[in-house]
């Protein structure tokens, strides 16, 4: 009996320890980002300078960019995250699922100063990046010039890699099939257009390898597993600049996208989170990131603050914007679920 009582007491003591409220120290902001070279750049360009300036401590976490984890936090009412970086299409999803809050732009910056499509209800843009085609110059002496060359298996034989996602790949398939960039989403909105896109993807299906995480494309190229791969331009540039890889980028027909930052519903340090968003939206500050990873600012008036040597590496450099497509978030909000399911069914065949 005595033993039993002791166990009960121990159990209660343990429970008390666990349920003890966390003691609040200095002001602390918890931010969750998608890791890799990109998060390291965020840290250097924004998190650290902001922490130095305000004395607010930054607590950084990493995640895969999928909102399931945050949805679980919101549903259980325990949200230890104040800021989270997300892709544009994910912002829309999080907005719809009630996982991200509607931002109050009066606490951030003048909404009209942002590039079109970068100041959304539930997320504010932080950078512009390009979905591009990358290759190893030692493997392909005469490399591709456009992303659409990934469909040319005659000129460039061998395995090639694409992101395991319906978005971007279906757009490129239509563009490679001759649809002008301006009409891509109109065509993709029709059943015939979807058939057409999958038919085009069929032509290279047996040569394709699929990647999930942004860090994979440089690895696939480095291990010579593929001769070319679609990628986010910053990850490739980072491999060129920091790891001295002999990689190169084909910019024509890139798809331009934006990274976003959002506040999850139920975040504890709402005021601090807004304070950070306002800081990062200042034109000069928003241009900082480019020095650490070649992604452009989302404000038109920030362009003049981007260092001269960084400009030619950005997706928004004039040389890179000869032909491009801006990803249509609303389209993917509408048709995403069905197209992804069909894409998965197509993969499984």
């Amino acid at each position: 009996m005595n033993g039993l009582r002791r166990t009960t007491l121990l159990g209660l003591a343990g429970a008390a320890l666990i349920s003890q409220p966390q003691t609040a120290g200095a002001e602390e902001l918890t931010v969750m980002a998608t890791g890799g070279a990109w998060q390291a750049a965020l840290h250097q360009a924004w998190f650290e300078p902001f922490a130095k300036k305000t004395g607010i401590k930054f607590n950084e976490q990493e995640y895969t960019g999928e909102l399931g984890k945050i949805k679980a936090m919101v549903e259980t009412g325990n949200v230890p995250i104040d800021l989270v970086t997300v892709e544009t299409s994910t912002v829309l999803q999080g907005c719809d699922a009630g996982v991200l809050i509607h931002l109050d732009y009066s606490k951030i910056a003048d909404r009209s100063k942002f590039l079109p499509g970068t100041a959304l209800d539930c997320g504010v843009g932080i950078d512009v990046y390009g979905d591009v085609l990358a290759y190893d110059t030692t493997v392909l002496k005469e490399g591709p010039t456009s992303v659409l060359d990934i469909f040319d298996t005659k000129k460039f034989p061998g395995k090639r890699a694409m992101r395991k996602a319906a978005a971007q790949n279906l757009e490129w398939a239509l563009m490679a099939d001759g649809v002008p960039a301006a009409d891509v989403y109109k065509v993709l909105g029709t059943p015939e257009g979807v058939d057409r896109a999958f038919k085009k993807l069929d032509t290279i299906k047996k040569d394709l390898v699929w990647w999930d995480a942004g860090a994979q494309p440089p690895q696939l190229l480095a291990s010579k597993e593929v001769v070319m791969t679609t990628a986010w331009n910053g990850r490739i540039q980072s491999a060129i600049d920091h790891d001295n890889r002999p990689f190169a980028i084909a910019w024509n027909d890139q798809i331009v996208e934006f990274d976003m930052i959002s506040i999850p519903k139920g975040a504890e340090n709402l005021d601090l989170a807004y304070k950070y968003l306002a800081y990062a939206a200042e034109p000069e500050v928003s241009a900082h990131l480019g020095s650490y990873i070649p992604y452009g600012p989302v404000r038109a008036d920030a362009a003049s603050f981007v260092p001269k040597d960084v400009l030619p590496k950005l997706p928004t450099a004039p040389d890179h914007m000869k032909t491009y497509l801006v990803s249509d978030v609303e389209f993917w909000g509408d048709h995403g679920e069905d197209l992804i399911k069909r894409f998965n069914a197509w993969l499984a065949q």
């Binding site: 159990g11 399931g68 984890k69 999080g94 907005c95 509408d334 048709h335 679920e337 499984a348």
Partner: protein, 403 residues
């Protein structure tokens, strides 16, 4: 005397039999609250989805009053506009739009457009609403609403079998280009079967060998089997990517030995996946077989042979029936674990080697469609339990007696 003593004895017996349960109560409670209840709560999402019903109380009432099927009359449209206006004001309209979009692709943006118009106090009318959102003029839109009006739904469970309610109110197959889950379930069971048989082919001779080795050497072999077993599954999977990749160890070795003339595509292929899964699952099949083999006295085989049985007959009639429970237990364990594989297919499997867990994870994490994830989980859990019951009932295997 006995008539007085008997009830007391029975009571004591009952108390005696309850005591183990009383001692296990904390554990049972912990299991229920941390394991059973959350699983039940999640699985209930597969059949309970109240978003549409909650968002549209007026519309549903009006639909009930409306006469037929197809596109309803003006009052329903007005009620719909009023419901959306309120949902817009309370911030719930996007959740509703997403939920409806799951049932009817493309509905999201049109519903949001109607909600925005309703919020701006434009006088709604059936004609104006259909003009702004053409989907509202189609019977399938209202069929989706009518189905969603019921808080308890079979939509997700049917979807898990690539089925749906047709507009005529019967159950039919989804379009071929949307049919994915039956194939994935089939693939999951196929790969689990192949891996189970491969591990059995490796484990049975190895267990037999270990049983006949000197104890010291058998101990070393056992440690060799267990060492990888103690390593995290993620580490072992990552190790296999190093070995299997195009410029990896295995390809280098095969080329050097002259067994192949060009590098094999082992990564992102089913072959690679089965190799890695077989390695990871080997101890699970091996250990039950080994433990049962140890309990079979070697003298029995000798006795059978001394009584005139051929070695094969002795093995087949005397040895195998005795180790069969271990074989079945090991295979069942591996088969069930294979059904839930997630990380190895992600890292080593190709696009057409993804198992049902990968789809569940995708619905939970990426698409935030937990209802679909719950339905797929339910089917997986039910088929696993069904398999377990079949094995224990009809093959006479009782895992509880194994220990």
């Amino acid at each position: 005397m006995s008539s007085i003593a008997l009830p007391r004895i029975r009571m004591r017996d009952q108390r005696e039999s309850l005591r183990p349960f009383a001692l296990a109560t904390p554990l049972l409670l912990l299991l229920f609250f941390s394991f059973g209840a959350p699983i039940l709560a999640l699985l209930s999402r597969a059949v309970y989805e109240p978003t549409i019903a909650n968002a549209l109380p007026r519309t549903i009432a009006a639909l009930r009053a409306d006469s037929g099927a197809g596109v309803p009359d003006e009052p329903v449209f007005l009620a719909f506009a009023a419901d959306l206006k309120e949902a817009q004001a309370q911030g719930g309209v996007q959740e509703f739009a997403k939920s409806l979009n799951t049932r009817l692709s493309g509905a999201r943006s049109q519903v949001l457009r109607i909600a925005r118009n309703a919020g701006q106090d434009q006088a709604p009318s059936k004609e104006a609403m259909i003009k702004a959102a053409p989907l509202l003029g189609e019977p399938r839109f209202w069929a989706a609403i009518r189905q969603g009006a019921n808080r308890f739904t079979s939509f997700f469970l049917l979807s898990a079998f690539d089925l749906r309610w047709t507009d005529q109110g019967t159950i039919g197959a989804v379009p071929a280009d949307q049919a994915v889950f039956v194939r994935v379930f089939g693939r999951t069971f196929l790969i689990a079967t192949i891996v189970t048989l491969s591990t059995l082919a490796l484990a049975f001779p190895l267990a037999y060998l270990m049983n006949n080795l000197r104890p010291a050497i058998a101990g070393i072999v056992l440690v060799l089997v267990l060492l990888p077993f103690w390593t995290s599954i993620l580490v072992r999977t990552a190790a296999w990517t190093v070995i299997l990749q195009k410029y990896g160890l295995l390809n280098d070795l095969l080329l050097w030995l002259g067994l192949t003339s060009q590098r094999l595509e082992l990564m992102y292929s089913r072959t690679g996946l089965i190799i890695a899964m077989t390695h990871i699952q080997l101890p699970f099949t091996l250990l039950p077989i080994y433990s049962v083999m140890r309990s079979v006295p070697p003298s029995q085989l000798r006795a059978a042979q001394s009584l005139g049985a051929q070695p094969f007959t002795a093995f087949w009639r005397v040895y195998l029936p005795q180790v069969m429970p271990g074989v079945l237990a090991g295979c069942l364990l591996t088969f069930i674990l294979c059904l839930g594989y997630y990380i190895t297919p992600v890292l080593i499997g190709g696009a057409s080697d993804q198992l049902i867990s990968n789809f569940i994870a995708n619905y939970v994490n990426a698409e935030l469609n937990w209802e679909m994830a719950a339905a797929l989980s339910f089917v997986l859990l039910a088929s696993t339990l069904g398999l377990y019951v079949t094995m224990t009932r009809f093959l006479g295997l009782d895992l509880f007696k194994m220990g």
